[in-house]
Symmetry: C2
Subunit: 307 residues, 2 copies
């Protein structure tokens, strides 16, 4: 089987290494904004100055793996690539949140219509099972609830420990947990994109990020956090959905709630049904983690799920 | 497709109801120690006074679902039933821990040899994904670690809150969290059976329960728990494995460990690899929960895992 890797940043490079554990899959090329590199190499070399879509038509892969960065304007070039690929029965595995938070139903419908595999574990909580949990948890869900953004959770944890917002943000940037421009994390947009995707998966809906009411933690006051702490409460940025109302809100969490002990960059997802209430906790970001998310999808696509 | 349900206690009855969500599956019969009931009925009626194995040969099902109680002497009659079924290519779904903790490799080999589905999510943590998590989490694992027995965790939690052992046990019995004869729970045997199965799944080994060093919490002293509490430590019965050493030990858990906040009858499993450390928390018992575990297996067997 031939794979085309899209994007060659930290996640793409980590994935290119991991894919070697699948001897039946050949990495036939890597495409970035610079063009197409044929075969595999540690350093990127441009062999053809072509677009992502042109690279797809040249390589004719059985699988595309998208590790390109999110473009929330229109999800391109990934969105068009997915539709072209799925329409030809090519499997799509992605860690890129933008196309699925903007055009979920179009992409999923193309996958179903052409019976082409679509995997996107890495878009939410990276390698910590979230999307893929749904594959092994059938039945009706009443609510999902999670801490889906590591940057804001880190800042809130450090503020709980006594820092003010500016210092906590600066520290997060120094440690590589926040980007130089942290806007999409601290304003809640990143968490909103993720809860959009989760909602569609767990409630079989066609939401887009425009359906999500979200707030962030920008400039939040230390005194609020201190005041709540004295009452045994932590403030967390909680993404929540019941399939109808989808939101990201700065919320009070009590000591007996599963999300209470989810601190620093750790993420968590609570899945609530009539039968049970389960919580999964794990890292929500990191190049190897996201690559592992894509690898998990590949594992499922290759039918390796039997024990 | 035809299913034969084995056992008609609380789990079996709950499963018989849930299976109605699979319109392509017919419950052709229910077999218990009393014999075989043909078709489905709320109250058990004996239509044939036959053994489990004879019932299997009469019904010729595509799937057997075992909800019978655990027989740790030799795993019978389930063990022979599984081998007969798998040898004929019949799928086996079970929530019965005994056969798999005694004869794991024989059963799994029969499943592989005849390409017959084997699902056993319900044997560990009931409906909270544990066994089935491995299906969506490929790659090497360094360690697994969990609270796998609800009875002992309930007793330890209540002792942490101030009760002594006898009162905590009595309360657990009154609430239905402990059996009248609690021996297999409080001596650590139940957790040992579960960590045996998990070890085999996560490390691809052929352990039996005889390979597990286990201890329980019988008659544990309140003063020990109180003393540790003052140091910020909780005592938990932790099942642990790295694929070589498999144990169940009364362990000190610190506030910053994921298992610290797992209290009362809740169970949890930590899965540690080079890439990530994830924890799943949820109920570990209950008729509906175990039945849901079996239902999850059925979902996977029927190829319903695509999103």
């Amino acid at each position: 089987m031939k794979a085309l890797l899209c994007g060659f940043g930290n996640v793409g490079r980590a994935f290119a290494e991991m894919i070697e554990s699948f001897p039946d899959i050949t990495l036939s090329g890597v495409v970035t904004r610079k063009g197409l590199m044929l075969g595999k190499n540690r350093e990127f070399k441009t062999h053809r100055e072509v677009s992502v879509l042109e690279a797809f038509h040249e390589i004719k892969p059985d699988i595309i793996v998208d590790t390109m960065s999110a473009n929330y304007k229109d999800g391109e070039p990934s969105y068009s690539l997915y539709l072209s690929a799925l329409n030809e029965g090519t499997a799509v595995i992605t860690v890129n949140k933008a196309p699925l938070s903007l055009h979920y139903s179009e992409i999923v419908n193309a996958s179903k219509k052409h019976n082409a595999f679509l995997g996107f574990q890495g878009t939410v909580m990276s390698g910590t099972p979230s999307i893929n949990l749904r594959r092994i948890m059938p039945g009706q869900i009443s609510q999902i609830k999670g801490i889906l953004n590591g940057t804001t959770n880190y800042i809130l944890t450090r503020m709980y420990e006594g820092l003010d917002y500016d210092n906590a943000l600066r520290e997060a940037q120094e440690k590589g947990y926040a980007e130089r421009d942290p806007e999409l994390d601290v304003n809640g947009f990143d968490a909103a994109a993720k809860i959009t995707i989760l909602t569609n998966v767990f409630f079989n809906t066609s939401k887009t990020i425009k359906d999500v009411k979200f707030e962030g933690i920008k400039g939040i006051n230390s005194s609020l956090i201190k005041e709540k702490k004295e009452k045994g409460i932590k403030m967390k940025l909680v993404a929540k959905s019941n399939g109808k109302d989808v939101s990201v809100t700065l919320s009070e969490i009590n000591e007996n709630e599963p999300l209470y002990s989810v601190d620093y960059v750790t993420n968590a997802l609570e899945i609530i049904s009539e039968i049970q209430n389960i919580t999964i906790i794990g890292p929500g970001a990191g190049p190897k983690n996201a690559a592992y998310g894509a690898l998990s999808d590949l594992h499922i696509f290759r039918g390796k799920m039997m024990l």
